[in-house]
Symmetry: D2
Amino acid sequence: MNFHVSSELDYTLKGPAAFLFSLRCIETGGQQIAAESLVIDPQVASEEFSLVGGMNRFSRIKTLNPGLLKISYHADVSTSTRIVPVQSLNVDGPGNLSPEAIPFLFPSRYCQSDRLRQQAQDMFGHLNTPYDIASGISDWIFEHTAYVSGSSGETSSAVDTLEQRQGVCRDFAHLGIALCRSMSVPARYATCYAHQLNPPDFHACFEVFIDGWWYVFDPTRLAPLNGLVRIATGRDAADAAVCTIFGNPELTRSSVSCDCSDMNFIPVTRDSLAERHELIALL
Amino acid sequence: MNFHVSSELDYTLKGPAAFLFSLRCIETGGQQIAAESLVIDPQVASEEFSLVGGMNRFSRIKTLNPGLLKISYHADVSTSTRIVPVQSLNVDGPGNLSPEAIPFLFPSRYCQSDRLRQQAQDMFGHLNTPYDIASGISDWIFEHTAYVSGSSGETSSAVDTLEQRQGVCRDFAHLGIALCRSMSVPARYATCYAHQLNPPDFHACFEVFIDGWWYVFDPTRLAPLNGLVRIATGRDAADAAVCTIFGNPELTRSSVSCDCSDMNFIPVTRDSLAERHELIALL
Amino acid sequence: MNFHVSSELDYTLKGPAAFLFSLRCIETGGQQIAAESLVIDPQVASEEFSLVGGMNRFSRIKTLNPGLLKISYHADVSTSTRIVPVQSLNVDGPGNLSPEAIPFLFPSRYCQSDRLRQQAQDMFGHLNTPYDIASGISDWIFEHTAYVSGSSGETSSAVDTLEQRQGVCRDFAHLGIALCRSMSVPARYATCYAHQLNPPDFHACFEVFIDGWWYVFDPTRLAPLNGLVRIATGRDAADAAVCTIFGNPELTRSSVSCDCSDMNFIPVTRDSLAERHELIALL
Amino acid sequence: MNFHVSSELDYTLKGPAAFLFSLRCIETGGQQIAAESLVIDPQVASEEFSLVGGMNRFSRIKTLNPGLLKISYHADVSTSTRIVPVQSLNVDGPGNLSPEAIPFLFPSRYCQSDRLRQQAQDMFGHLNTPYDIASGISDWIFEHTAYVSGSSGETSSAVDTLEQRQGVCRDFAHLGIALCRSMSVPARYATCYAHQLNPPDFHACFEVFIDGWWYVFDPTRLAPLNGLVRIATGRDAADAAVCTIFGNPELTRSSVSCDCSDMNFIPVTRDSLAERHELIALL
C-alpha cells in the first residue's frame, strides 16, 4: 500500500524552548520511505536520533527567540501487512516468550497492569488464548468506552479510563495494553498516520505479541487497519508522544493527513477480520 | 574495591511457574566479575538474556512440578567509582542532553513525574543546577520520609510515597527519580548488592545524569555509596525487579550478602561527600 | 437478646492530647442499655455528645500530661431484630425515598460511589430490586475479597479495596456501601460489638435502606447477624471511627468482648437467611 | 444588604427522572427571605425537605414523560454579616471545640484531609492560629491555582486539585477545606448566589470555624464576600450540590443572577479585610 502522509504544526514561542518530535515514519522490514522532508521555519538546528525501548525517530529542535515556529513533515511511504488465520497460531506462555516481548509484559506509566490484575481476571479470565484475550479486550473497550474529544488529558492512564469509560485513541490503546499485560499477554503502543480517519489526526492503537508477531488492534474502530502508517512504538505514550516540549510554547495550528495513492484501497476492519477469523500485523 | 556477593532464594512451587530473575551483577567499564555461579536446585532449564531499556542480565527459569526450588547466586566482583568535585560540573538543559539520557526524563510506572511538576516546582524551584536539584531532592526525602519495612507494596509509586511519607529503599528511589524528572533532570533506578547494609538485603538507589555521567544518590543513607555492586538499571522497578513471577510460587527463605574483601574499606557517605562538595558515580 | 459488651484501651501519652471515642452503645427503639460504665484512669474531664449525620455517642477526653491512660467501657445491652421475608418488600426508586435515607445515596470519603457507577453497572446492572442488588453485592465481596489483617490502612477506601481485593471489616463494609450507592440504593456504615467474632474486636458492617427499614449485611460473614450490638452509624468510617486522636498517643493494649447471656443463642447467618429467603434488621 | 436572586434551569427529559435541587436560599438568624417562588413547568409534583448534616432546603421533583422541564426560582433576600478584628479572636484547639464543629474536622468525599496531613504540615506548619492557617491556605490557593472553566469534573477532589493546580470555585473551596481540616481547623462548604460574580453563576466558597463562628473565605477572589447569599452548607459538594439527578436528563440552558438593590453596595473583599486585619462571617 502506498501513502502520502503529512503533518504541519505551528507553535508560538514565548522564550527559549526545546522540542522532541516523533513525526517521521520509521523504516521496517515492511515499511519503506520513498521520499520525505522535514522543514523547520525559521531554520534552526535540529538533531535526529532513536531512543532505546521502542522503534522511533526523534527530532530535537532548540529555539532561543520568541516568535512563530512552523514544522512541516511530508513523506511517501509504502507499507505491507500480514494477514493470518487465527487457527494457525501457536499459543505461548510467558515461559517461552521471545525476550524482545518480555518488557511489554511489565507495567508502564499509563498502563498500570499491576493494578488491574483482579479486574482483568474477573472480566477476561474465561478466555484462554492470547488471541481470544486480546480481541475480547479490544471488543470490550469498544463496547464500553465512549470516544469523547477533550475528555482526558496528558496524565490520564488506563486506570482512569477504566473508571471513567471515556477518552480518545491514546486512552483506548492504553487500556487495551494494560488489560492484556494484566493477563500476561505482551502488548505495546503504536502511533500512526491513519488513512480514512475522520477528522484527520495522529492515531494510536496497540499491538499484541502472539506466536512471534505483533498483531494490531484498534479498540476505537475509527480507521482501517491496513491504512496505518507507523510512526513509533513503545511501552505507552511516555515513549512515543508526538511532541514533548521543554519550555512553554503554545500549539496554534495542527494539520495531519494520510492519503492512499492506490486506486483500489479495500479497508481491512475489525469486522472484516472477525468474519474471516483473521488477524493483521503491520510489517 | 572487591566484593563477594550472594543471594539465596527458596521457593515452594504449587504448580507450573516461570521466573524472571535479575540477580546477576552486570559487567560495565568499571565493574568486572572475576567468578560467579548460579545454581538452580533441582536443575531445570534456564536462559540468560538482557532486555532493552536498561542494563541487566535476566535469568528465566521454568518449572513444571510442585516442590521446592532453590536459587543460589555467588560472585566475586570488582568495582570502581569516580568521585568529582561539584564545581567541575557543566550544566546542561534538556536541549543538549545526550540522547541516551532522554528516556530517563519520561515518566514511568512508579515515577509519575508528569503528575508532580507543580509540587516539585514549589519545593525545588529555587534550585538551579542539576546537582543542586538532585541533592536537594535526596536530602529532602531523607528528612521527610520514614523507612518502615512493610509499609508499602508492589504497586506503591512515587505519588503514594510523597503522600504517605513512608516506604522502603524502592520507594525512596522512586520518589527521588520522579522529583528529578519533574524538574527536567534525567534519573534512573539501580538495584544493587550493598556492603554494610543492615539488615542485609537487596538495595535500590537512584542515579542522576549530570554533565555526561550517572551519579548515584541514596536517600535512605543506609549503606556506603562505594559499597554498591550493580545488578541492574532501568526506568524504575518495573524494569529491574529482582524477581518477576508468573504463577503462584511462594518465597519461603531469602538470604543476601555483600562483603568487601579489601582490608581498608573507607565508606563514602552522603555526609563525607557533602563535606568535601563531591559527587560519586559507579563506573 | 442480652449481651455484655466491653472494651478496654490503654494509651501511652507523650504530651497533651484530645481523644474522641465512640465506644458506648446507642439506645434505639430496639436496643436498650440496662447498665453501663465508662472508667477513665487517671480520672480526667470528659464530655458526652452526639454528632449530626449519624446515630452515635461520642466521649471527648482531654489529657495534658505524659503517662498511661486507660479507658474501660462495660455495658449490659438488650437488642432486638426484625426478620422479614424478601417477597414482602416493596420496591422504591430514589424519587420516593424517605428524605432520611437520601444522604446515604451521596458519595462519602471512603465510599466514592460517584467513581464506581460504570463498574457497578457492569457487575450488578442485571439485578433489579434493592434486595437483589444489596445481597448480590455483599455476596460478590465475600467471594472476591480476602480478609487480611494489616492489609489496609486508615486512608484505604472502597476504590482501593475493589482494586486490591483484600482488607478488613471496615474495607468490606465501605466497598458494599459504595457499590450499593452506585446503584442508587442507600447504604450506611455501622460499627458494632459482635458476639462470636473471632478473634474478638470491634466490627463493622453495612445497612441498606429497603422499603423503609435499614437491613444489615456483613460481607465478611465473620459473625452472626443477630449477635451485633450497635455502637454507631454514619456515612462511613469518617463518621463512626471508634477513636479519633488529636496529638500522638500510642495504643498499647486493646481488648474487646461481646458475650450473650441468653442460654439458647441461635446464630442468624447469611446462609440461614438466604435459605429462608429472609432479611434481618437491627432495631 | 438586600438582594434579588434567580436561577433558571432547562432540562430535556428522555424518560422518567428524579431531581434533587438545592436552589432555594435558606433562612438563618441573619438571612431572611422576603418573597420567593419556585416555578416548575410543566407543573409536576414536588416535595421540600432538609437533609441532616448541613443547612439546606432540597426540592425533589419526579417526572415521568420525555419533554422539556423548566425550573425557575426567584427570591428577595436580606442578609447580614459580622465583621470582627482578627486580634479579638480566641484560639481553640480540637479539645475545646463546640461539638457542632467536630464533624467538619473529619475527611469527606472531596476533601480528603486524612491524605493531606503531611503536605499541609510542610506548607502551613509554621502558622499558629486558626485564622493564620485559614487565611494562609486561602491565599496560597489563590496564588497557586488557575481558575479554568471545564478543567475539572464531578469526581474531582482536593487531592486532584492540589496536583493539577487548576479548577473552578468548587475545587478551590474543596482544597481550602481539606487543607484546613488537615491542620485540625474545622471547615465546611457553602454554595451561594454571588453579587458581581462575572460571568454570573452559582458560587462556592468555604467557611472556617474560629472562636465560635463560621468565617467565610473565597480563594477564587471572584466576588465580594458581603455579596454572598447562602443556599446551603455541608461537608463538601456531596452534601450541597445544586442539582443531583437520577436518570439521564440533559441540562440545555442555565441562567443565574444575584442583584443588590441597595444604592451603595460597598464590596468587602479579601484585600479590604486584610488591610484592616478583619474577618467576615455570613450570619
